[in-house]
Symmetry: C2
Subunit: 417 residues, 2 copies
Amino acid sequence: MAKKKASAVPAVQDWPGGLVTQVAGFRTATMHCGIKSKPGNPDLALLVCDQAAAAAGVFTTNLVHAAPVRVSKAALKAGKGTARAVVINAGNANACTGEQGERDAEAMAALTAKALGCKPAQVLVCSTGIIGHKMPMEKVERGIAELSSRIKQKGEQGDFARAIMTTDIVPKTAAATVEIDGVKVHVAGACKGSGMIAPRMATMLGFVVTDADIAPKALQAAMSDVADETFNCVTVDGDTSTNDTLLCMASGRAGNKALKTAKGPEYEGFRAALYAVCDSLAKQIAADGEGAQHTITLYVGGAKNDATAKTIARAIAESPLVKTAIAGCDPNWGRIMAAAGRSGGAFDPETSSLTVQGIELFRGGTPTKFDAAQVSEALKNREVGIVLMVGDGPGRAKFYTCDLTHGYIEINADYHT
Amino acid sequence: MAKKKASAVPAVQDWPGGLVTQVAGFRTATMHCGIKSKPGNPDLALLVCDQAAAAAGVFTTNLVHAAPVRVSKAALKAGKGTARAVVINAGNANACTGEQGERDAEAMAALTAKALGCKPAQVLVCSTGIIGHKMPMEKVERGIAELSSRIKQKGEQGDFARAIMTTDIVPKTAAATVEIDGVKVHVAGACKGSGMIAPRMATMLGFVVTDADIAPKALQAAMSDVADETFNCVTVDGDTSTNDTLLCMASGRAGNKALKTAKGPEYEGFRAALYAVCDSLAKQIAADGEGAQHTITLYVGGAKNDATAKTIARAIAESPLVKTAIAGCDPNWGRIMAAAGRSGGAFDPETSSLTVQGIELFRGGTPTKFDAAQVSEALKNREVGIVLMVGDGPGRAKFYTCDLTHGYIEINADYHT
């Protein structure tokens, strides 16, 4: 968080219902081109900026990364942080597909570029779905042609957030506004979850657009910084995907005085709006985690530093025993302390305290006297808050996760290749 | 593994049905003293050596460790690597119980020592069960008195492996023999699983006894070394317990020429017998993992070094997506490669190959053509073998785990505090 005077940083406003397509300069189109087997299920989307936009990306750290990740990284580099469009498909991850997969991802960029009249390096590519299957390129090629033509002729919008879903149950969108130099700047985003979620650099797929006028380097700084505090603090199952990609494009249409560097109150204001959008999207991913019946917000405070707090929080958020206890509305706090203890983050149980749903369960090495039935009842709420204070240090972290239920097993034992 | 000539190291023999109580010098007694609510369910056990035995221990690395772990560590130090007895209870972990817990664990050692006529520092203490509950010391005190008297009067044996179970379905024992200097040396052990299993130093509770004549330092070296390749390569749910303890006691009754140091073919022969016993116990833990329907043996080879192979293997073995795929008999190999890729262990997917149930699914960055129905059918076998070769390096690791099923959720969402 910024250490500036509060008055110097512009205040961020909620923008209820704000959509990617309501940000000046951006248009989308979506369709079912046939990658997913169920007819009517959208599986292809285009996100296009009317002119070259400043662009920033954060990508998976998985060594096994998908072809579109490599193609998008290369494009951002070649385009010097600018881009015109993103082409996205669901239903096929184009990962572990060898040289053919590489050629297919490059072809998706080239086909989109040709249809829009720009260079292939101005087009980013994202894929999500099953690993190890060849892309059905004939269907994709027809789809890209149709979506490009729809956008050019009718400026079609489509339900972008729904077109990028895989096992997600609900589409995920968030939006915020901030006033910079007396000009209203808009930030809106959409993303998908909901399994293989433990981003170490970005979530599965996330897209944020803004009409801010901002230099590519400043945009990349804001994006990397915010991703670390939001998407990198979500886990559904501890499995970091091969395709994680978070992209941000800025059209510059708001007309603010250009943000040229990653400092100053105006930059901090923009960063805060970006944070509000990404934080909301991150929490929505946890809430729609595969099989989730509880959304868990976990705060760890009082640690030596933020990194230690995050290490402890991640271990608790990934613990199957903690997640099944919450599924069963069971105040089994011993599992939370055991997960913290094995995390690798240094702390002293004797100076720790643990609160679940606002009720203290443990302090200073021993259990607090509490009414287990009361805590169980409180855990029937879908929203669960856990606060673990491990000392009086300055380090803190917030993590979003969900419980582990029969639904997760059903989805993942039956999702056949 | 030893780099000696094979002929120099004595051959280890299976000892089918061999029990802790059949090793010269050791006796056990077990009972239901009332810690567990269900009558007849054994919950207290004594393991006693007729004289002071060489003793070695490996303990949990969890920062939140239970009172009996601290007491046993201190006793091993004070006793200079010798011990007379171990008192073990199931149903209560005596963890997160503050100073009272510490006093209770010390009292368990003192009561046992008094009854057996030795010093408290000659008695080790192990507890397993729920975290954060006060020990019912009146019941424990009566129980220790009764068990000590039974051992002294009748040399009673009891079903030791069953008395240490919690959610385990089957008791776990293993035994082996090896000839040292023309003398037959026996090694036998018992352990418990079956949730909160991801030992980083030892398993939940494991006990191995031998009649070998071996110096405490050599015994500790063998135990630490073997634990690292066996119990430390098992995971059920990635949750390292607060109570993990592996103890080994040597009575010296075999009459072999004493093993004074951790080298030479005789020591290697003893170490091999210890390895055989611990490896079998480790695999039994995975097989009886909470809700397990498949036992998975995972080999990772060709890595830069053993540590890298182990890092990759652990990530695959802990992946909920891999474990649910196996539960569903689904050859979803992309999840295995994705878990390997996020593990943090360095390798090149382009030089990797993956085999499941003997069928190659992936090689050199692209899927092999395989018959998915045939692999699915092969995965109906309870025993699953996965081999991932990541290059041509010398590093290798073996890991045992189980699948993730509805049974795990049932056990852990309903196991109320």
